[in-house]
Symmetry: C2
Subunit: 152 residues, 2 copies
Amino acid sequence: MDGRFKLDNQLCFRLYTASRLITQAYHPLLSQYGLTYPQYLVLLVLWEKDSQPVNDIAKRLMLETNTVTPLLKRMEAEGILTRTQGKKDARQMIVKLTKKGRELQDKLTEVPETVGSSVMCQSVTPETVPGLFRMLDDIIEQLKHNNNESNS
Amino acid sequence: MDGRFKLDNQLCFRLYTASRLITQAYHPLLSQYGLTYPQYLVLLVLWEKDSQPVNDIAKRLMLETNTVTPLLKRMEAEGILTRTQGKKDARQMIVKLTKKGRELQDKLTEVPETVGSSVMCQSVTPETVPGLFRMLDDIIEQLKHNNNESNS
DNA sequence: AATATTTATATCGTTCACGATGCAAATATA
DNA sequence: TATATTTGCATCGTGAACGATATAAATATT
């Protein structure tokens, strides 16, 4: 048989595993503040631009609202953010950081670098990372379109 | 502020998104046979080598048994595989494909290529894939050790 | 203006991931 | 051989992901 079905030939398995392991690397850094990795992603989005409707956050993270809504509710329960109905558009829920949510940024300053440096290795260096980013971005862009096409 | 917290600078977010989107690309191909992507990974492992204890499958997929056990039970309920107590070691559960599980390989022949070709794009080509694999493998290897160190 | 369609969000059910914990069989140590 | 430790697997609880579906508000169409 050819190597078609060999696990070691699968790009997806590598992405899946790398993603899981790097999320695990975030865990000890985030859990001391009661955060999960997806919650940290929401914070990244809101730190860049506070006060956004659910949909904008979901789009930025390329997730569906049915994933993001419960996530936001948990963060609201933790006092990290507030969800208030939009004024212009009553369907929208505007998500806004609380003081606690904003202050988390100061407490997590060392997180990006800690994790960033922990993945650096022989073939992953400041020189090669841009190429890696490019390939991953291309794959993401490609799949975003392919996947959308197939449900139309 | 520097770009430390910018979502667009995060390797992990790219891996996480690429992994999710590529799993979604598998979905229409697998769901017609009642399979999920992690279940497909289990099949890849068992097609390579049938009749393995739970632990070997988990190690191959770099997952914990508490993830794999329920997964295998669902596949057992679907009649894809059997779980029988080991003879030499009564703690082990030996996982073996059924006829149905083996025959799935013939039905899924086109899956690897379909997904494989759907990620090919400008910067991801047969020439660049080995480099991508190398970087992902390095990252995985690195994190596997780092993550283990921190719980010891 | 009344009706249809679209949009923004939420709810529900199922399947992972995974930390924490439990338990019994196997192995090591005393 | 009795006791301690390790190993293999399972159970439990929580938080994602996500397909399917629901609901109400906004917009488009008639």
